[in-house]
Each structure stands twice: as structure tokens, then as C-alpha cells.
């Protein structure tokens, strides 16, 4: 799997209230959530045209706070390809795996700046900064999580492997 895009840079401890404020939670429609993505971290972000296809890069503990899956859903629905951070808050990390939004943990995020282009090669576990022409290793996932990711998320994995009898005939 390969991801390449323009970087939008955020700081440490970006919480889910900033990613998708509670005033927008009275809907669960992904397209509507996408419009308000990162609204309280950077107002108007979700409505920018250059966000689609981009990559978010942040510091420590990205996605802390509430368990609202609306946060990674809004990021995914905004067309953001991947989130890179020094570390992620646990529930956010789990939600990303579960909904199939690629995330990357790497130490030297301070060497990536807003507006640069980066490419992430999940197969080789490398991140390339195309502007700086630098190259970094990224953390890889344990096998169990890789299986979930390769299935496209937890429900694809679970319905195929654990409970196929609970799925409509035509969906099998």
C-alpha cells in the first residue's frame, strides 16, 4: 500500500472535540461530518478544496478525548489519505484500524512541514519526504491488526471470519 500527498501540519494533543466539535454531532452522515473536519483546530479546514488527497501530520497523542468515531470518519470522508503522528490516543488509534483509515506512528514528525509532499510505503515501512529528500522508518502493525486492515476494517473482518450467519444471504 502506497500513500502520497500534501501535508497539513498540526500540534500535540489534538483532541476529538477539535477534530469534530460536539455541535456537529447531531448527525452521523459522513459527508456532513467531513465539512466540519478539524473545525476547532483550524476553522474552515473541512471545506478547503486542497484537503482531499492530503495527509495530516501531527505531534503526540493525536485524537485524545472523546471516543466519537465521528472524528476519524470526518477525516476519512474529507478524503484525507492518512494520518501521521508521533503517537495516537488509544481509542482514536483503535477507531482508525476499525474503519480502515491508515495511520502511521513515527518519531521525527518535526522534520515534516506544512505544504511538503510525503510518500508512505506501508509494505516497506518507509516514509519519504519528497521535498527534503529524506527517508524515515515507520512503526509497523502486529499481524492481527494487519489482518483487520487488509480486510478493510473490523466489520469486514468480523462478518467474514466470525459471524457470517448474521449477515444477509446476498451480502456474503
Amino acid at each position: 500500500m502506497l500513500r502520497e500527498g500534501l501535508v497539513f501540519k498540526f500540534g500535540d494533543h489534538v483532541n476529538t472535540d477539535e477534530i469534530i466539535p460536539a455541535r456537529y454531532l447531531s448527525t452521523s452522515d459522513p459527508e456532513e461530518l467531513a465539512l466540519n473536519c478539524m473545525e476547532d483546530a483550524r476553522p474552515g479546514f473541512g471545506r478547503r478544496e486542497d484537503v482531499r488527497g492530503s495527509i495530516l501530520v501531527a505531534g503526540e497523542n493525536f485524537g485524545c478525548g472523546s471516543s466519537r468515531e465521528h472524528a476519524p470518519i470526518s477525516i476519512k470522508a474529507a478524503g484525507i489519505q492518512c494520518v501521521v503522528a508521533r503517537s495516537f490516543a488509544r481509542i482514536f488509534f483503535r477507531n482508525c484500524i476499525n474503519i480502515g483509515l491508515p495511520i502511521v506512528e513515527m518519531d521525527r514528525v518535526e522534520e515534516i512541514e506544512e505544504g511538503q509532499r510525503i510518500r508512505i510505503d506501508f509494505t516497506s515501512g518507509r516514509l519519504h519526504n519528497l521535498d527534503r529528500k529524506t527517508d524515515y522508518s515507520i512503526n509497523t502493525y502486529p499481524e492481527f491488526l494487519q489482518q483487520i486492515i487488509q480486510s478493510g476494517g473490523w466489520l469486514s473482518y468480523a462478518t467474514a471470519n466470525i459471524a457470517p450467519e448474521r449477515v444477509f444471504e446476498e451480502r456474503r
Binding site: N15, D17, C64, S67, S87, F144, A158, T159, R171
Partner: protein
């Protein structure tokens, strides 16, 4: 204790770092997270949930419905519960804030493995359950399979000695701990409380402490199952085994706290880790516009009693709005019977039906541009209770009530302290 609970559920000895697929005892959703799970369940062709008895749905965040959209969301959850024969759906009138309601009603108990699509699901660690917050997809996964995936976490040991000074409670302990280790200090880890001091922490205070484990990034915040827990569970018809950490248990770190050395804490904007002692914060004479007493953190009867003890016979300062939100119908009834509502109303507070409401900036007390509030809730992020230029200080019901009287962030007077429930 974490490994013991996971081992018991897995039917074999498990180790930290292992991935497990386990049946959960209870899976919880609310009016914000359940609609996403229901959509996903239907999108993946879901027909019938695996086990309706395993599922609890509580409409507590934007209820009584604050607008048409939230009414639609709750309707979706209500219709789903009816169609799926989910008995434990709690609507307005039976509803309480989920993390006050579930232990109170005996829907979760010691030793359980609980998963909730709400970050404060870690509250039930107070009962010695392994209980953790997840997202909606995990809830949908339980709809399909009854199961969820878990990684057995590493453990931070918080060893407690001594007992709280008057006016100090669980809220102060957890704000102090978060100020020590930071908002990601326990990320990917469980926090376990141990030592002789645990016995001196009341059940309601334990719920407050476990509730905010997530504000340090914790996956869970677990107390031992001792006589106090066993008595609490017995009142709900359960006989539960004691649970305590083994000697030589494996910890990533140990933190020692003497409860007697703690003073009331206040977490300044905009992170729960910005805690400082009241004696320091008081000096800054911070004027406030609003006080909120309630939430899944501090909406239990002990919290109501503490607030009332401070407010009795006094008046809320001019220019301050004080909103009290009992956490459940049972807390509401109990507070009413004890005459606490009379104290609240006579002092100039507004008393609300249970709801998460203002805690997440939903409704029932939203802040305007530049306003400042003291709240017994759990997060003080930018814009959490309303306008992005408002600010929020977190504290206990004692500090919140005392601040409501003085109009600025302050501690109670000695005479007021003496009225507080002993051992709190």
C-alpha cells in the same frame, strides 16, 4: 488485576501485549455513538443482533432532545432497540447519564468485561471490572458477534496511603494524578489503584477517579474489589469475589500518593492535566460566569450532598449561573427526598433533569464568547462547553459550589467544610 480479569475471560493465563478475541459481558452505546453503529450494522447487512441481553443503549447526551436532528438520532436508537428486542434501552424518564446509571442499576458488576462506545466507559473500573471506551464500529462488531478484540495492556500502579482531608475527594485525587503523568501518561495502559488508602476512598469517589482515567489516556482505571465493593454489589443482588493485585505483579511504573497530602485541585484551561492546588488558583481571583455540578464524573448522590452542604442557607453570587444536573432518576429522587433541591433552588441554582448536556457543549448551559465556568465535568478542551473563546476550569463539587457563592474560583470556608460527609 487487569491480567486476572482477562485470564478469567479467556479461560487461560494471558500476558501483557497479547491480542485476544473475547465475548463481552456488556456493550454500551448512547444517542451519539449508537446511530453510527446501527448504520454500520445495517450497511454490512446485519439482520439480528447476536445477543440483545448483552446490549445497553442510553439516550443521554442531547436528551431531552435538544433539536430535530437529535430527536431523529434518538428515534433511530429507540426503533433499533424495539426491533432488536433490546430491553436495556433507557429513554427520557428512565434515563440517567450512562456511567451513573449502569452501576447503579446493577447492569455492570465486578469482574465483568465491558466495552462501551463512550470514552468514559472506564468508570466501571471502580467496581473492579475491566471496562473500556471504544468507538461505534466496535459496538457494531458486538451486534454481529458478541465479541471484540483486545490487547492486554501494560499497567501503571497507583499505590494509595492515608485518607482524604475534609473537602478533598476522588476528583482531587484524579486531577492530581493527571497533573503528574499528563494527558497521555497512561496511553495504551491500564491504571490500577492499590494500597491501604483505597479502603478510605468511597464508592462514589472511586467512580469519579476511574471515570477520568481516560483523561490520562488510560484504557481503564481499576480499583480492587474489597468489602466496600462487595457491599455495593450485594445491594444489587450480586455476590462477587474479592480482587486484588498479586504481590510481584508486573507494572510499567508505580506512583505513590498519600491521600492526606492532597488539597482540592483545579484544572485550568485547556487540558485536564493543568491541575493546581486551590490555594494557588484562589490567589488569582478568577471571576466566573457559570458553575456546572453534575455529569458522569460528579453526578452521584455524594456529589449532590457535598454541593448542598456548601450551598445551604447561602446565595449564589450575582452574575453567576449555577446549574445542577443529578446523574440519574434515582439520584434525582434521592436528592429530592433528602431536601437537597430545596437548598439548591433557595440558593439560586437551576436543577435539571439528568443529561450530559453542557459537559460536551450540547445544551442546558452553553457558554458565550469570553465566558468562564467552573465545572465538575471531565474535559476543559477549547470550546468544550460552548464558544471557542470560552474557558473552563475543572474541579470537585465542593470547589464548584464554593466558587458559585463567591463568584470567583475559591475554596470553602472552614464552617462549610465541617458540614461535609465524613470520609468523603
Amino acid at each position: 488485576m487487569t491480567e486476572k480479569i482477562f485470564s478469567s475471560k479467556a479461560g487461560r493465563d494471558v500476558r501483557q501485549g497479547e491480542y485476544l478475541l473475547l465475548e463481552v459481558d456488556i456493550a454500551l452505546g448512547n444517542d451519539i455513538t449508537a446511530p453510527v453503529a446501527i448504520r454500520e450494522f445495517e450497511k454490512f447487512g446485519g439482520r439480528q443482533v447476536c445477543n440483545p441481553e448483552q446490549i445497553v443503549l442510553v439516550a443521554d447526551h442531547f436528551t431531552p432532545n435538544k433539536d430535530i436532528q437529535s430527536a431523529q438520532q434518538v428515534k433511530m436508537v429507540r426503533d433499533f432497540a424495539l426491533a432488536q428486542k433490546i430491553e436495556n434501552f433507557f429513554d427520557v424518564g428512565r434515563m440517567g447519564i450512562e456511567h451513573v446509571l449502569l452501576p447503579e442499576q446493577g447492569l455492570v458488576k465486578s469482574g465483568d468485561l465491558v466495552l462501551g462506545a463512550d470514552s468514559h466507559t472506564c468508570t466501571y473500573g471502580a467496581l473492579g471490572a475491566f471496562s473500556t471506551g471504544v468507538g461505534s464500529t466496535d459496538l457494531a462488531g458486538v451486534f454481529f458477534t458478541g465479541k471484540a478484540w483486545f490487547k492486554v495492556p501494560e499497567v501503571i500502579n497507583v499505590s494509595l496511603t492515608g485518607k482524604f482531608a475534609p473537602g478533598v475527594s476522588g476528583k482531587d485525587l484524579i486531577l492530581y494524578l493527571i497533573s503528574l503523568i499528563g494527558v497521555d501518561g497512561a496511553n495504551y495502559q491500564a491504571i490500577e489503584f492499590s494500597g491501604p488508602g483505597t479502603a478510605a476512598v468511597s464508592m462514589d469517589s472511586r467512580f469519579t477517579v476511574s471515570n477520568m482515567a481516560i483523561e490520562a489516556g488510560g484504557k481503564a482505571g481499576i480499583f480492587p474489589v474489597d468489602e466496600l465493593t462487595q457491599r455495593y454489589e450485594k445491594e444489587r443482588g450480586f455476590t462477587v469475589d474479592a480482587l486484588e493485585p498479586d504481590e510481584g505483579a508486573l507494572y510499567s511504573r508505580t506512583i505513590e500518593i498519600d491521600l492526606g497530602s492532597l488539597e482540592p485541585m483545579v484544572a485550568r484551561p485547556f487540558l485536564p492535566s493543568n491541575g493546581a492546588g486551590i490555594s494557588e488558583v484562589e490567589k488569582e481571583e478568577i471571576r466566573i460566569d457559570q458553575v456546572v455540578i453534575g455529569s458522569c464524573t460528579n453526578g452521584r448522590i455524594e456529589d449532590m450532598r457535598n454541593a448542598a452542604a456548601i450551598l445551604e442557607g447561602k446565595k449564589i453570587a450575582r452574575g453567576v449561573r449555577c446549574i445542577i444536573l443529578p446523574g440519574s432518576q434515582q439520584v434525582y429522587l434521592q436528592a429530592m427526598r433528602e431536601g437537597l433541591f430545596e437548598i439548591f433552588v433557595e440558593s439560586g441554582c437551576a436543577v435539571s433533569t439528568p443529561t450530559c448536556g453542557p459537559c460536551l457543549g450540547g445544551h442546558m448551559g452553553i457558554l458565550a464568547d469570553g465566558e468562564v465556568a467552573v465545572s465538575t465535568t471531565n474535559r476543559n478542551f477549547v470550546g468544550r462547553m460552548g464558544h471557542a473563546a470560552s474557558s473552563l476550569y475543572l474541579a470537585s463539587p465542593v470547589i464548584a459550589a464554593a466558587s458559585a457563592l463567591s463568584g470567583k474560583i475559591s475554596g470553602p470556608e472552614q464552617a462549610e467544610l465541617e458540614k461535609l460527609t465524613p470520609g468523603v
